[in-house]
Amino acid sequence: MKKITLLTAFIGFAICSFAQSADEIVSKYFENIGGLDKINAIVSVQMKAKVDYGGMSIPIDMVNLKDGKMMMKINFQGKEITQMAFDGETSWSTNFMTMKAEKDDSENTENIKRAASDFISPFVNYKDKGYTVELLPNETIEGVECFKIKLTKKTILSEEKEIPNIEYYYFDKENYVPIVVEQEIPSGEMKGQISQTLYSDYQEVDGLMFAFSMTQKLKDGQGQTIVFESIALNNKFENSIFKFPGE
């Protein structure tokens, strides 16, 4: 019932949409997904998901904390493998050859530290974080006319240089939720190519709308989808699940 109320609200917004600023669009986005107060009250998000890959359905458990700690664990052939984690200081992953934990390079760790304040959405308190937004001309993507917002975040490190950290958000004009986020790949052999993340299957969790499907791909390429089976807010977690297990 609540969901219907939210959807009705989207339609309401769609009707009264007219020339708006990037800031207004961001505000409406937060309003439409349940409100900034509710978002600010969240301290943890746990997502249980699965990825279908080559006939295998791989379960994934992801935890993100407000302070930036995060952990992503997969279950593969009955083994639980931490594929990516950040304990506040160290970003690490599991080497598939040895099945042992290894630290990320310092540049990647530093970039993850800088993204720590992007919990739930980088637009939360974006001005306080020194981020800027710019409304670009509308674009049609996924067949939908969207507001396109350029979000400039803190710089990141790439190949030992500070480089701009820019994301392009496409907000569906009808309901103000982001359906695509684009970013230029900042380093490596794919440097310069555009990666896209597609969001859909928005559903309500404790009064907030979350995308339950996320597809990552190269622009014009094939994607890999993660489908979330459940999203739980404000669960408590032991620090040990994020912690780098040691040398």
Binding site: K3, L7, D52, G54, G55, M56, S57, F76, Q77, G78, K79, F96, M97, T98, M99, L136, P137, N138, E139, T140, I141, E142, G143, V144, E145, K150, I163, P164, I166, Y168, D172, N175, V177, I179, E182, E184, E189, K191, G192, Q193, I194, L198, Y199, S200, D201, Y202, Q203, F212, S213, T215, D220, Q222, G223, T225, V227
Partner: protein
């Protein structure tokens, strides 16, 4: 400007007018997953027109290309990515803003190397984010931009050299200046409507000082003129407010094209390359006083050759005496221009040179055949192998599986290559079948080993046997009483759909051979206007004679034999005639005057004879060589008596080619200078196709009759394929109104070919293959954003097979299914059992597709079949499928066995920790279970060279994937191995049962007695469940 952008993203509208039956579609809201793949190739690359680098970061390099847009490398010139796909692909100049060199870039469109086949530009563009978003900044009518100079302290002050129209008078040329970042422009130097700014440079130390060369030039379809009294060099010292002519020391009289540059390390030193009347006065001039006086230094061939194509001179940023001149081979001087030597071996026709800002030994060179780099100051050159910017004039296909693609390239010969190849379509997959400039290439319609190709002006017309590697020249020669044959630069050749050995070629006459080019018959009179004033090519070129054949005129350009009747042949000529014979050439009718609204003498670029009706044909005319950039596309349904224009305002540039669909007569594809347009209502409205098709010039389109693939021959972005356009045939107002519509699916032939292949290095371009998966195609009238959406496959007995991620966009969605069911549940071990990850292929048959969107369900079906071309019997296939199933079940039985044991092992470990009284009993159980587990799965080592010895899990997995991935029957040996593994599995189960019988009953009683929660096991069905 804004209005255009908004109209570009108008909401999806299906407006149906019952009177007109217009089905207006917006491409970005319809085409969805119908995407093109660019297959290059890149081995011969294409013409690069301009190179520009970051002023301080030598890792960042940009190139502008003749027809392939703008590319950027951020790794010092190893890998390049296209950053300008959505805009005009003909590039004149690229400029990095020195005020914000990481982000700001200007691109002036319209190439300035004005050969006959040069494209046109549509203005100047700017990006402030490194090329992710572009904004057009005006100067739309300048046609070609030769240079952009940006004030080093003020990003809003920019100077632009505009060459203006090549094919006619226009006033949008000269030097333009903006002081507000491109919002408004002022023409600060203008001579007249036929003289444009061909070079513009700023003093690197004083942005108020500018040098601008002006060139009087003109092309027609039949001639070229370089030079006139207005060609000149000018200097401003006040930011373009006033200019003075600086010719002291220059030749007197008529001048042609002038290249000019300033030495970056010493702005008093200038170099100019001047085209003049006298040979002794042509060539390199140097000034040591900032242009006050000039001294002639060198008139070598490398300095004077073809000024219209090679007027670029570049000075080493560190050394004012190291000078490089573009040219046929490129020349370098280390003594200030006194003497030159050639650059290293590379493709000929050099257009630009770029020195690395930090190391002058490292340089990049732009050629007709791609971009080269040198690490030793230009002595040896290596080509960049990932620039698929080749320039096709034409494309054709054969009927092989996979089909081959044939085509000819600007200055890069003729080629054929596959539409699919193991590991992707690589450079080595392409075979050369012609020299010079390549144009029309055709396979013999029934003999796949025979093909025809040609070079410019039909100087060579070849029949090639690709098996015997033999080539024969099959060009027709005049016989007694014949005049000289006039062949177009891009001479019309075609084969026949009715007579496999037939070949047509057009001079001013239509020639026919019925024996693969051995013997020829003229089957028409001169079908052109035969205007003698347009046949004076020997006088072409202006100050520098240039009679290459490129201006040959009054020739047949297109030949279209009706697919329904071999006696019906349509002819189009470059001087605007459309002629028809209905009796195999006995009589001809000139239909030109019947085409209302078509300006006289407009080049007939293509005629498409309809495959639905003998009296129907389409004709595409290109007027750009008369300075007319409108599209002219006509349709006749009465043998050319009347013609109707099918052009709408949707089409934004001139057109060259049209392709009619074979099934839906209202579905047409139009190749224009700015990309591909599609109509689904017979031309009442058109929509631009952008999914992977850049705004490149589409010179030719072919639709494959078997695969329904649309193949585009682009002049700058190589071959582009849109696989299977059949969904477009289904689109009508009724379909577009449905919430979800499944397009009818063909029966998919499952792919059984090996996955071996791929020998390219990391830096070489590889064209992607078509999908080998079964595809589920549907149209969604609205993007799915809220609530769950899933796609499931069931077999004919409604048994669930697998789940696939559905596409959710508005428009056409294509979901791929590799025809696999789910992989088995695998026993947990210390390591990963790679071979057991294998998901078995489903048998041929009918499958049900169910899309669930919230509470709604949509169903369709899909049929799979085994390959037609196979050596496997159905008995072998049945045995393979049954054996795979046995091994699949064994894998899962073992997984469950190990799962049960693991649960007891874990429990016993807990008991040992928590209850000392049961420790001994738990330890015994734990030890016995672990001992058994050691022979069932790998319990030690890693996933690489430290791997433990393979155990039962690994052995079953190896056999399972080996048998599962070969679609013939398993061998006797394999079945014997399976029997052995079955026995081992049974033995494992038996041993576990013995442990259970001997220990677990008692263990359960003992643990429950002390209040420890006992093991709770999932049932087997629950354990292996996958959905």
């Amino acid at each position: 400007m804004k209005k255009n952008l908004y109209s570009f993203v108008l909401l999806f509208v299906v407006s149906i007018s019952s009177a007109q039956e217009i089905i207006k579609i917006e491409g970005k809201e319809l085409f969805g997953d119908l995407k093109a793949r660019q297959i290059g190739p890149a081995l011969m690359s294409g013409r690069v027109s301009d190179i520009e680098g970051h002023p301080s970061n030598s890792r960042t390099i940009y190139i502008g290309t003749a027809g392939g847009g703008v590319w950027r490398s951020q790794d010092g010139g190893v890998i390049f990515n296209s950053i300008f796909d959505e805009h005009c692909q003909s590039i004149g100049a690229v400029a990095v803003d020195p005020n914000d060199p990481d982000n700001s870039l200007w691109v002036g469109t319209g190439e300035v190397w004005t050969r006959n086949s040069v494209s046109i530009g549509d203005g100047i563009y700017k990006t402030n984010d490194g090329g992710k978003n572009w904004q057009k900044m005006g100067l739309e009518k300048t046609e070609r931009i030769s240079a952009i100079e940006i004030h080093p302290k003020d990003k809003n002050t920019v100077y632009v050299g505009a060459m203006g129209a090549l094919w006619g008078d226009n006033e949008d040329r000269g030097v333009f200046k903006t002081s507000d970042g491109g919002k408004t422009w002022t023409k600060v130097l203008y001579l007249n409507a036929f003289t444009g700014c061909s070079d513009l440079v700023m003093d690197p130390t004083n942005p108020e000082i500018l040098y601008a060369s002006f060139w009087e030039y003109r092309r027609t379809a039949w001639s070229f003129n370089s030079g006139g009294l207005n060609s000149s060099l000018h200097k401003s010292i006040d930011g373009g407010k006033t200019w003075v002519k600086i010719h002291t020391g220059f030749p007197k009289g008529v001048l042609g094209r002038i290249a000019v540059t300033v030495a970056p390390s010493n702005p008093s030193i200038l170099y100019a390359v001047v085209e003049a009347e006298k040979d002794t006065e042509k060539g390199l001039y140097r000034s040591d006083d900032a242009g006050v006086t000039w001294k002639h230094l060198n008139g070598d061939f490398g300095l004077t050759v073809r000024p219209f194509y090679f007027s670029r001179i570049v000075v080493d940023p560190k050394d004012p005496n190291t000078v490089v001149k573009a040219g046929l081979s490129g020349s370098i001087s280390h003594d200030g221009g006194k003497t030159f030597k050639g650059l290293g071996m590379m493709h000929s026709d050099i257009h630009d040179i770029w020195f690395d800002v930090k190391d002058s030994d490292k340089m990049f060179v732009a050629t007709d055949g791609g971009l080269y780099r040198s690490l030793n100051g230009g002595t040896t050159m290596e080509i960049i192998e990932n620039l698929p910017i080749c320039m096709f004039y034409h494309v054709s296909v054969d009927n092989q599986t996979p089909y081959n693609i044939y085509g000819g390239l600007q200055d890069n010969g003729s080629w054929f290559g596959p539409s699919a190849s193991p590991g992707g379509i690589e450079a080595r997959d392409w075979e050369s079948i012609g020299y010079g400039d390549g144009f029309r290439v055709y396979p013999h319609p029934t003999n796949p080993k025979i093909m025809y190709s040609e070079m410019q002006g039909a100087e060579g017309v070849w029949r090639y046997d690709s098996e015997k590697k033999q080539v024969k020249t099959v060009k027709p020669f005049p016989v007694t009483g014949d005049p000289k044959y006039r062949f177009n630069w891009n001479a019309a050749i075609t084969t026949s759909q009715h007579q496999p050995d037939r070949l047509y070629i057009g001079s001013q006459f239509l020639h026919k051979s019925d024996d693969m080019g051995n013997n020829w018959k003229k089957m028409s009179p001169d079908l052109t206007t035969n205007n003698p004033t347009k046949q004076q090519q020997v006088q072409s070129g202006g100050l520098s004679a240039d009679n290459s054949g490129a201006e040959n005129h009054c020739t047949i350009f297109t030949i279209a034999e009706s697919p329904l009747d071999e006696n019906i042949i349509w002819i189009g000529t470059d001087d605007g005639n459309v002629q028809l014979t209905k009796d195999a050439g006995k009589t001809w009718t000139n239909l030109t005057m019947n085409i209302k609204g078509l300006p006289v003498n407009t080049w007939c670029y293509h005629i498409e004879a309809s495959s639905f009706d003998k009296a129907t044909a389409y004709a595409v005319f290109d007027g750009h060589t008369k300075n007319d950039k409108n599209a002219y596309v006509y349709k006749t349904m009465d043998n050319g008596l009347t013609w109707k224009s099918i052009v709408t305002a949707d089409i934004t540039s001139f057109a060259r080619n049209i392709q009619e669909d074979y099934k839906n007569p209202n579905l047409l594809f139009l190749g224009t200078e700015l990309g591909l347009f599609i109509t689904i209502d017979g031309g009442l409205s058109w929509s631009k196709f952008t999914n992977g098709v850049p705004a490149a010039a589409v010179h030719y389109i072919e639709l494959h009759p078997k695969t329904n693939d649309l193949i585009l021959g682009t002049h700058g972005r190589g071959i582009i394929i849109i696989d299977d356009i059949s969904p477009l045939r289904e689109l009508n107002a009724e379909v577009l109104a449905k919430p979800l519509y499944f397009f009818p699916s063909k029966t998919y032939e499952m792919d059984e070919t090996s996955t071996f292949g791929g020998a390219s290095s990391e830096t070489q371009f590889i064209g992607s293959n078509p999908s080998s998966s079964a595809q589920i195609k549907y149209y969604l009238s609205k993007r799915h954003t809220f609530g769950k959406m899933s796609l499931d496959i069931y077999d004919s007995n409604d048994k669930w097979i697998t789940t696939i991620s559905p596409g959710k966009q508005k428009g056409i969605n294509i979901v791929e299914w590799g025809c696999n069911s789910m992989a088995p549940k695998v026993a947990a071990g210390k390591t990963i059992a790679g071979s057991a990850m294998f998901s078995p292929r489903v048998p041929a048959g009918k499958y049900k597709v169910v899309i669930t969107k919230g509470s709604e369900k949509f169903e369709s079906s899909l049929e799979l079949k085994y390959p037609t071309n196979t050596v496997f019997t159905s008995e072998e296939r049945k045995l393979q499928e049954a054996t795979t199933k046995v091994l699949y079940d064994m894998t899962e039985e073992l997984a469950y066995l190990v799962y049960e044991m693991d649960e007891y092992i874990l429990h016993s470990e807990k008991v040992m920790k928590e209850n000392a009284s049961l420790k001994k009993q738990a330890l015994k159980l734990n030890t016995d279970l672990n001992a058994l587990k050691d022979v069932l799965v790998v319990t030690k080592g890693d996933n690489y060279v430290g791997a433990g010895e393979p155990q039962l899990r690994e052995k079953i997995g190896d056999l399972y994937s080996t048998i599962g991935s070969y679609y013939g029957g398993p061998s006797v040996s394999q079945l014997e191995t399976m029997k052995m593994l079955q026995d081992k599995l049974a033995d494992g189960k038996k041993k576990f049962q013995l442990i259970k019988d001997a220990q677990i009953g008692k263990y359960k009683v003992a643990t429950e007695k002390v209040g420890i929660t006992y093991v709770t096991l999932k049932s087997f069905e629950e354990f292996v469940k996958k959905n």
